[in-house]
Amino acid sequence: MLREPLTVGMNAPRADAFTKVTGKEQYAADYYPPNLLWCGVKRPSYAHALIRSIDISRAKEMPGVAAVLTHKDISGSNRLGILEKDQPVLAEDTVRHYGDSIALVLAESRYTLQQALELISVEYEPLPAVFDPEAAMLEDAPVLHPGRKHAFLETEAGVAWLEDDGALVIVASTQTPFRDRTEISHALGIPSCRIRVIAPYLGGGFGGKDGITVQAFLALAAQHSGGRPVKMWYSREESFLAGTKRHPAILKYSLGCDQEGILHALDCRIVMDTGAYASLGCEVLALAMEHAGGPYRIPHASIEGIAVYTNNPVAGAFRGFGAPQAHAAIEQVIDELARIAGFDPLEFRLKNAVSRGDTTPSGVTLTQSTGILACLETARDSAAWRERERWESLAPPFKKRGTGIAAINHGIGYGPVIPDNANAKIELTGEGRLIIYAGVSDMGQGNAATYLQIAGDILSQTLDNMELVLPDTAQTLPSGSSSASRTTFTFGNALIGAAQALRKRILERASLLFTYQFFEHVRAEDLGLVPGHVRHIPTGREIHLSFVSTTMDQSERTAANSYTCPVNRQKPPTGGSLRIHGYPHRVYSFGVNLVRLEADILTGEVTVCDFIAFTDAGRIINPELFDQQVHGGIAQGLGYTLFEDFLVSEGRILTGDFGAYILPTALDIPDIQSIAIPLQEEDGPYGMKGVGEITINGAFPAVANALARVCKTRISSGPLTAEKVLAAISRNEVGKNR
């Protein structure tokens, strides 16, 4: 396959797979510059407290300690935050959660570092703290400013150093290299142009590396390291403590239909606990509200949302970005209403699902491809759905079987406020090879490989003849974050333009070269690109791309293209105080998830037997990478549905490592059937939409709906653990009627 020109639609191998299976790929965590200093952070002993004093003298005097820094060593604003600048790099007079940062230590070894951190003594004056988001809204609640973990395998990591001219270089595991530069500049007072951020392949991100993690500490440390490089790499425990989480949410829903089963009214309220700092809390809430009514027509809808500061760990972006919480609610309520009103749950959804031209409950008019009906119809016709009652009746002894579905949607891209823009660059080298400068991080989803596939398709080149430059603010062009299901959508569109421009230039120059050879005018239309060469089709004569390259200077060998996504310019009524960051979207992916599961009536243990995902994420550039996203999103969804419980008590994390926070293993996830409903989307490159997040929205409600059939009742909070399932079964004495 390596000898074949890459083509859109084929299962092109991932270029990164070759270096990842041999251990050669260098992630941010794998950088060990010679003579490095290890950096670490002193965390507070209280969830909310005034800092009376910080004594760093003993730590500073310890042999092997190079520097101990506090907020006094910061010359910028000392404020981080993607939109809301509310988070200090190092705390000044107040700490607001256990993951806050008080002092930064630079030491010769990790062992010395740990000892030095212990030697820093902080005097606190504890303040009343608030941990319940509902309580935080009470009038007498303490004023703070005025769940679940990503568990990416590569914890937050990076290195930094100063170049000879004093410019700062940071290599970090980040989804947002270009935005990081701006944030660091603001917080630390370093001019943006003096900061270079490099983002190698990430060992997972899922939203948890959307923004600053270790980057600001590294930048600060590098300025005080005496010219030595600095390295920081969170332990798993520190990643859990200081990293962002999925927003815990309280969702209250009322939904009404008429006798025909047509939905008329929705009233819902979503309260999200964003923890001690805003991070992307307002934006996550807005997306939850946009998806609150699911993919249905509900003409009368009231959707209220509140994001609340507490002294809990900070919540931020996590794959799905608020939509999984919303779908967990609406899809269970839809099922309940169908049951009460006497309708088949799938037919009920079919009656009410949106099609192109309809308006969603959050007021968004759907102008683009809308495949929810096609997904529902395909699910209805599947054997798993048609034969569900028979399958359920064949449950083995002491087991109960249930089938559940969920219908889901997911907005693609940034929405109308922040321009969803990418800038692609492609170069023909003097050797006739092609370099794609990818300005968007690849956190594991394979978007970088997809860029090779797109460029390979347009320029008829093989994987062997192409290479990538991963995000580097000094080499690649700003292209936004790796997030929001936009990574291939936006950059892909930019890349198509760049690759086509380079192709045209190559063929024009080659036509001159052929003209000199043939002593007659050769038209570019008679030329074609083949791997490594340009061919004159009528004669079959070829010239190598390196020869074509000699007719260009550096500027001509490079083509760049800027692309900004079209947006939905509707102004739905929002009540004024909603931060309409992403809302309303123009393009949505859609899907239906179908689950068949077995619950053990003696233990409550749930086994997912079958999982079928019907997904309309537009046309597919690489079927294998598409399925990778489907499998992975569903596995994460099943993890958070059945196992993962991010327990926090009084702001303190009780499940702070992999021993206590249970992630699904290979024994817990079934083989997943991925069925694409690939409708053409005119906005997307090659008709695609985005598949990164739609895949995580449906697992929770589909499983909950299947379990409701088993338990004859609903479990009102996640995760749906064996204990809760057993209690629900016992409550209804379902076990006795086995």
């Binding site: 299976v21 041999t22 990416f152 395998l153 399925d627 990778q628 996830i669």
Partner: protein, 156 residues
């Protein structure tokens, strides 16, 4: 102390504190960063290496325990520039996403196939259940190990 062991086929002598973890020895002293550390507590399998052919967690081993042993890390699995069958299968069957679990997962699979050359899918799932992957949902990893087992048996 001085320890002697065979590292990826090479006689190796290293002067090191006896209580240094093997993962640190490999990554920081030998420059072999293919072995990953993700939990440091033996929960995730990302630091898996082969010691005398058996899979071991290098974050739970101390340097002194390597004395006289044969160690294979992910960097030493390919022979003469050719991928091991399991590595090739991981590429061919789409088993790699972010890739941070991949080295440990591949070595766990190599050990599994040594112990059981003809595993069922269920046995593969059990065999790799000590290795956490957060990206793939495991399905394509199971595919890769299954087809690697067929290839090792000479079935095409």
């Amino acid at each position: 102390m001085k320890i002697n062991f065979l590292l990826n086929g090479k006689e190796t002598e290293i002067e090191i504190e006896p209580d240094r973890r093997v993962i640190d020895l490999l990554r920081e002293e030998c420059g072999l960063t293919g072995s990953k550390e993700c939990c440091g507590a033996g929960e995730c399998g990302a630091c898996t290496i082969l010691v005398d052919g058996e899979s071991r967690l290098s974050c739970l081993m101390l340097a002194a325990q390597l004395e006289g042993r044969e160690v294979i890390t992910i960097e030493g699995l390919a022979k003469d520039g050719c991928f091991h069958v399991v590595q090739q299968a991981f590429v061919d069957y789409g088993a790699v996403q972010c890739g941070f679990c991949t080295p440990g997962m591949i070595l766990a699979a190599v050990d599994l196939l040594r112990r059981n050359p003809t595993p069922s899918r269920e046995q593969i799932r059990e065999g790799i259940s000590g290795n956490i992957c957060r990206c793939t949902g495991y399905q394509k990893i199971v595919d890769a190990v299954y087809f690697a087992s067929l290839a090792l048996q000479g079935v095409n």
